[in-house]
């Protein structure tokens, strides 16, 4: 058995933390988005090596030349061309430590990783654009009505077979 001072297998309970924080701040209890049913499992019709893979990330990534995200319920998203050099990627997010992501955007936006998987044939191709947005939106309604339909429309237009979601 590994030394528990080094390896602690118990996941950090962020849900309990959020409950405590809201209570401590005197807010009403946090309301998570919940779904009454499980998602229907789509079975891939072809091998990964023939699939077009799209990346969607919530870590607040933008490309130099694009407008940065703001931090107050920003429901916009950015289309980042799949061939963008990581030196041209920037990170703006208020809810996590962005030190690692600014040093190497792949940790929240694994675009170089997907390019490697495309060039070695593991995946068929990378969708023309990766999509990114700012995750800290405190309105379920605006996520559902504004952000999600816009992302879904872009994914459908790119004919992505597979979507890799990278949350933070």
């Amino acid at each position: 058995m590994s030394d528990p001072s080094v390896y602690d297998p118990e996941p950090v309970d962020y849900i309990a933390q959020t409950r405590q924080t809201y209570s401590r701040l005197g807010y009403e209890p946090y309301r998570w988005a919940t779904h009454g049913r499980s998602v229907e499992l789509a079975r891939p019709e072809k091998p990964l090596s023939l699939c077009r893979v799209a990346l969607v990330a919530s870590g607040g990534i933008y490309r130099v030349g694009q407008v940065a995200f703001h931090h107050r319920d920003d429901t916009s998203h950015r289309k980042i061309p799949g061939n963008t050099h990581t030196d041209d990627l920037r990170i703006s997010h208020f809810a996590y430590d962005t030190t690692a992501a600014r040093r190497d955007p792949n940790v929240v936006f694994p675009i170089e990783v997907l390019r490697r998987l495309a060039s070695d044939g593991t995946i068929g191709s990378l969708a023309p654009d990766a999509l990114s947005f700012m995750g800290g939106i405190y309105s379920q309604r605006r996520v559902k009505e504004e952000l999600i339909p816009a992302l879904a429309a872009d994914l459908a237009a790119m004919a992505a077979d597979v979507v890799l979601l990278v949350p933070v």
């Binding site: 998602v39 940065a68 792949n106 694994p110």
Partner: protein, 87 residues
């Protein structure tokens, strides 16, 4: 979130696809996530990848300060030059 399949990476927040400057580890994580597509799972299955952060970090994550910061509705550029590049 209710994804049909998920890979859990038990790393500090902000390292969903691995550690910076570790392309082989990032490849392992992304590759394993994509391979779940052709793995028989029930809907909503969460699989954990066999990776552990090289040093203790969870006590800090459990004790972190959760006080609210002011969230501004003007674009928050990483670098000042990015604003000029956009304009």
């Amino acid at each position: 979130m209710n994804p049909p399949r998920a890979l859990f990476v038990d790393y500090p927040l902000g390292h969903t696809a691995g550690r910076p400057g570790q392309p082989d580890e990032q490849l392992k994580i992304v590759g394993e996530a994509l391979r779940l597509l052709h793995t028989e799972t029930g809907s909503g299955a969460i699989r954990q990848i066999a990776l552990s952060w090289p040093e203790p970090w969870k006590s800090g994550a459990r004790d972190r300060d959760h006080s609210r910061t002011i969230r501004l509705d003007a674009p928050q550029y990483e670098r000042a030059a990015d604003r000029l590049a956009h304009e």
